[in-house]
Symmetry: C2
Subunit: 135 residues, 2 copies
């Protein structure tokens, strides 16, 4: 269940650097594309323009996603969590993908875990079902 809320940026809890983590999720297939950071200003710019803006921790500047690459992100929905310190951005991803490597998602590295666990799968996981549906 999702509740709409009368929202003020002041309700959010930013960390000691003035930042909040923002998870970008593909609004069509639900895949997680990236995790980046926002400050109040970049969040405000995102809400006002629908073009997702992050705070670049390496460059210490506001960063309009895709400004140079063309891989812009258009905000469709935005949610925050129960303790007000994390965001989900449901976005439409333009261009080749969210990742600077050219991959659709930044999370392309899988850590191998005990393979015996995989044998226990009795149902088709989400990623397979939605890949077939949307690709």
């Amino acid at each position: 269940m999702t509740y709409s809320t009368n929202f003020s940026i002041e309700d959010l809890r930013f960390d000691n650097y003035g930042l909040i983590p923002a998870i970008a999720q593909d609004w069509l297939d639900g895949s997680i594309l990236m995790l980046a950071w926002m400050n109040k200003e970049s969040l405000t710019m995102t809400l006002e323009t629908k073009n997702v803006h992050y705070w670049s921790r390496s460059r210490s500047e506001i960063w309009r996603k895709g400004a140079t690459s063309g891989s812009t992100q258009i905000l469709k929905e935005i949610r925050f969590d129960c303790d007000n310190d994390a965001l989900i951005l449901l976005i439409e991803q333009n261009g080749s993908g969210a990742c600077h490597t050219g991959e659709k998602s930044c999370f392309f590295n899988e850590i191998k875990i005990n393979q015996s666990d995989k044998k226990e799968k009795k149902t088709t996981p989400f990623s397979n079902i939605c890949s077939e549906l949307f690709n």
Copy 2:
């Protein structure tokens, strides 16, 4: 595309507090359940036991998810991102849900954005399709 990798925890980039953000995603329906934090020890315990352990920033202690509530999380897959500083945990959620409020997901608060944007939707978003499929 996902690449399996020979993984060392030392390859990951933990922040100045020794922590890395971990996004818990339901392995069956792809919904994002929560964002929490791990240190090296809680990540190691998670990989060894398949029971997800986080670092509680409020209590400054390792926290086995669901230890008191029963809402444990069983690790199915784990990925890290292109700059090695964020994790996705694909998990099987036990109990009533991931959130201490009783909700399935901690991200139940939606921020209202310009409603004219919603009128532009021409396709059925992921959340609706997968709700129908899995619920």
